[in-house]
């Protein structure tokens, strides 16, 4: 009797009513579906467009080959992989990219780890302020370090004004001025804050009882590190490695500035020169290769998350680690290392750039050579403070990066919400992975694809090219990975219970979001906004193709200044970016009492 009851399906109408009531009470399905559609369009479509341009004849080549534009061709693949110039376009840059990515990542991880150890676990001088100072390099545009490096180490190989060392009579050798060594160092110095943040975060999360247990069993501090803490940091290390490698693969400004003079090409600069020399097909193939690297990283990440489960600490409360008391003998060099990294990676570049803006002639340290002219104007030049271009681009940068960041933060939390509310469903997995994909695409390739897609009205989407909407959109998509990562981890932490408690008490979806989840996720939202904002403020490669007169950003404006030969104004603009970002980060940290580290979420 009961069996027949169970096997008889309820009538369709009843099932539909049930489904409807579920959708109403659990709108996460609707949210998830809408997000999935939006992401499919905004993330997958540009990727498909890149794929398309890799196999479609460009106009120029079509004219030469007597074909029509858009015809299917594999000539770009051949050119990249097997032609006589494949070695120059692809294989050598590939090797160089690998070398640079490997060493830069290793160094960045090493710096990040050592500094995180020093700052979280020892009593070096100024450890609390260092926690902030050491992430400053992350807030500077990526060309800042390279520019500063060139300013100091430039030798006669490239002309123009002499480097500071050269001006002092010391000629730096080529290998120190250009090529792999400075690229690796500059990249490591700009990406270590990532590692530093994640390691500090992870160290603070590790239950101090795990260390104490080892101490009572006779482990000396170095053994505690070697046998307990470092192994526990393996998952963090892996994700830091992946994130950093992904970043270094797509990085452009640094190898462009430091590699070109000695012909040291990476895949990203090869992609750039392909675009510049009018070979978008070749550029697309290179973008695909970079993208494939990215996908490989993503798969590796998924695999690791699954396989490093056992590292997740069992229960326990993470106590505040008592900083190790270093002897004076150890405390001095340890503090020197931490402060040294700050001086080299953040203070130095800022100082060098600042000096360049107040010196009439570089490298001449005479009082008469100093002037505030570049800031206040005069000598027939505009100054920073009265340049309409800078003010306009500052406004643009703030409003464009600002609105992109806010949208990104909200979307990121929505992705997190849908992923957490729909555990195990394919929708959840799709959202999680697809929202992370843009992280792995080189910005320039993405921008080109966006231009292709959105120059034309498509369906309900009007032609966006030339409007700030397109800039906002491309930033939202590109920085979504940061926001969705922090959104997912924040939603995971809160779990479903608080919302379900509200549901039981009769709170509708809207009330649950505004009264329960919203307040709970305030800090998460802020961090999900800060990261995209910082990136947006310093973004160059992504937007350089999309800006039009009137929508210039600070970064593109600084490029224009370089074009006009106003190096000092360019540096001043970069300084403005750095200072604005730093102030905003400080402000947000003060207001929300949260840190950047929380947002990266491991």
């Amino acid at each position: 009797m009961t069996t027949t009851d169970r096997t008889t399906r309820p009538p369709l109408q009843a099932r539909l009513r049930l489904l409807l009531s579920q959708l109403v009470s659990e709108p996460s399905y609707v949210i998830g579906a809408v997000l999935a559609l939006a992401l499919a369009y905004l993330v997958l479509a540009p990727m498909a467009a890149v794929l398309g341009s890799a196999v479609q004849m460009t106009r120029m080549d079509a004219v030469r080959a007597g074909a029509s534009p858009g015809d299917l061709t594999f000539s770009y693949f051949q050119r990249v992989f097997t032609s006589p110039v494949a070695q120059d376009i692809f294989w050598t840059p590939l090797g160089n990219t690998m070398t640079v990515a490997l060493f830069a990542t290793a160094l960045a991880v090493l710096f990040g780890l050592v500094l995180a150890m020093l700052v979280t676990s020892t009593n070096i001088w100024g450890r609390s302020i260092l926690g902030f100072l050491l992430i400053i390099p992350y807030m500077l545009p990526s060309q800042a370090l390279a520019t500063a490096w060139i300013t100091v180490f430039k030798n006669r190989r490239t002309g123009g004004s002499p480097g500071m060392l050269e001006a002092l009579g010391l000629t730096p050798p080529d290998w120190l001025a250009y090529g792999p060594l400075p690229i690796v160092i500059c990249l490591a110095l700009s990406y270590f804050p990532f590692a530093f943040l994640l390691f500090s975060n992870a160290l603070n999360k590790i239950d101090t009882q795990l260390e104490e247990a080892a101490v009572t069993l006779g482990a000396r501090p170095h053994i505690v590190w070697r046998r307990i803490l470092l192994p526990l940091l393996i998952p963090t290390t892996m994700s830091v490695l992946l994130l950093t490698v992904a970043r270094t693969l797509g990085t452009f400004a640094t190898p462009y500035v430091l590699g070109t003079p000695v012909g040291y090409t990476l895949l990203s600069t090869s992609l750039y020169s392909s675009l510049r020399s009018g070979a978008p097909g070749v550029a697309a193939v290179l973008a695909i290769v970079l993208g494939l690297f990215g996908v490989a990283m993503l798969l590796l990440d998924i695999w690791m998350v699954r396989n490093w489960q056992r590292f997740i600490t069992v229960g326990g409360k993470g106590g505040k680690r008592e900083p190790a008391r270093l002897t004076l003998l150890a405390r001095f060099p340890a503090s020197a290392v931490a402060w040294g990294v700050f001086l080299i990676a953040a203070f130095g570049p800022l100082l060098v750039m600042f000096l360049s803006t107040i010196m009439r002639e570089p490298g001449v340290f005479a009082l008469s050579n100093f002037s505030l002219g570049y800031w206040t104007g005069g000598d027939g030049r505009p100054g920073v403070f009265n340049s309409p271009e800078i003010l306009l681009s500052l406004y643009n940068s703030l409003s464009i990066a600002g609105s992109a960041a806010v949208i990104c933060g909200v979307l990121g939390l929505a992705v997190g919400y849908a992923v957490v509310r729909l555990p195990g469903s394919w929708l959840s997995g799709f959202l999680r992975q697809v929202s992370f994909l843009p992280y792995l695409m080189p910005g320039m390739a993405f921008a080109a694809a966006f231009l292709t897609l959105f120059a034309v009205p498509r369906g309900p989407v009007p032609a966006l090219y030339g409007s700030i909407t397109l800039l906002i959109l491309v930033m939202v998509v590109t920085y979504l990975p940061y926001a969705s990562r922090s959104g997912i981890s924040a939603m995971m932490q809160v779990g479903r219970e608080p919302e379900e408690a509200g549901m039981v008490l009769g709170a509708g979806f809207f009330a649950r979001i505004t009264r329960i989840l919203g307040p709970l996720q305030k800090t998460a939202l802020v961090t999900a906004i800060i990261l995209p904002f910082i990136s947006g403020m310093k973004e160059l490669s992504l937007v350089v193709m999309l800006v039009t007169p009137g929508t210039e950003l600070l970064t593109t404006q600084s490029l224009r200044f370089l074009d006009y030969g106003h190096t000092q104004l360019a540096n001043a603009t970069i300084l403005i970016i750095g200072v604005v970002v730093m102030l905003l980060v400080l402000l947000m940290q003060k207001v929300t009492k949260s840190s950047l580290a929380g947002g990266l979420g491991g």
């Binding site: 030469r64 070109t260 020399s277 090219y465 030339g466």
Partner: protein
Amino acid sequence: MRFNQAVAGIALATAAALSSTAVFAQSAEMDALIAAAKAEGSVVAYWHSSRVSKAGEGFEAKYGIPVLGTKMTDAESTEKVVREVESGNVQADIIGYDDGPRLVTELLPGGFVENYVPEDLAETIPESSRDPLVYLWQVSIFGYNTERYEECPISNVWQLTEPEWASKLHMLDPRLRSTQIQAFSAIEDRADGLAAAYEELYGKPLELTEDNAGLEFIKRLAASKPILYNEDVEIAAAVGARGQEAPPLGLYTLGRHREIESKNLALGMCPLTPFQGINQPSYVQVVADAPHPNAARLFAHYLLTEEGAAPWTADLGAYSSNPDLTSNAGNPFPNVAEWGDSLLVSDNARVAERRGDLLDFWITNNR
């Protein structure tokens, strides 16, 4: 001396401007164009040169029509214009462009831009500059350091390929600058001259390992590993900086010599056989379906007048394609035509055909 030159230049320019306005004032078409342009209100220009902003200021002062000029590379402006026109969402009105081959094979045949030659100037402008319309010729030269050398240390381009000058020529990167490939094509066109120059220098005929003497030269030049740049500002500074024991030679626009005083450089021009530089045309084209077509045409016209060309032609080594206009008094020749054979001039169609191969040829030999 310089002051006098400047005054003279301004006086000439003013005179020319006055006379030309006097002529055009009679032209009813010109009046109609000006009226239509003013009705359109503004011009958006994608330009190969940042000086478009200066020209724009002059244009606005004269006609009250603001010019929104943005400097961008040819690749960028091509990308943008093609997509804008294809999507029917055209932002740009007019482009300033270096990549002649691409212009004649892609943009013009594809209907993305229109070649507009102002009627009143059609007769004045030499035929070679008319289709597509050149508004500017810029001379690039081989330069040397005058502090270290009394005269140019070489006299023949083949010497650049000698071991002594390996990695001592500074030039623009052919992988980034299409103009260099155009020069290579012109070098190929001048293969015979190169072969003769070789024999003249070494007293024996050139042994070819490539199809022609032009390719042979490019090959040897590539193999001697010149230092490559994105911008030629830096090249001139590298060559002309004072206090160098072994300064390099450079291939850069002659206009850089204007900075000899302001940047305290020691620069001189090398008179080489069989060519001493490149004559590079820059084109102006009106974008198809431009939102402000008349303003764009008026701006194109303006660029061919004394005041419109001045932002460029006030400099050394830059000439308007309008031969009636003055050029910098410091130029070796007052008119571009007088440089004659000493400069390389490329053929757009041939470059379009050969550019891919030439680029690959350069890349493979530059390893």
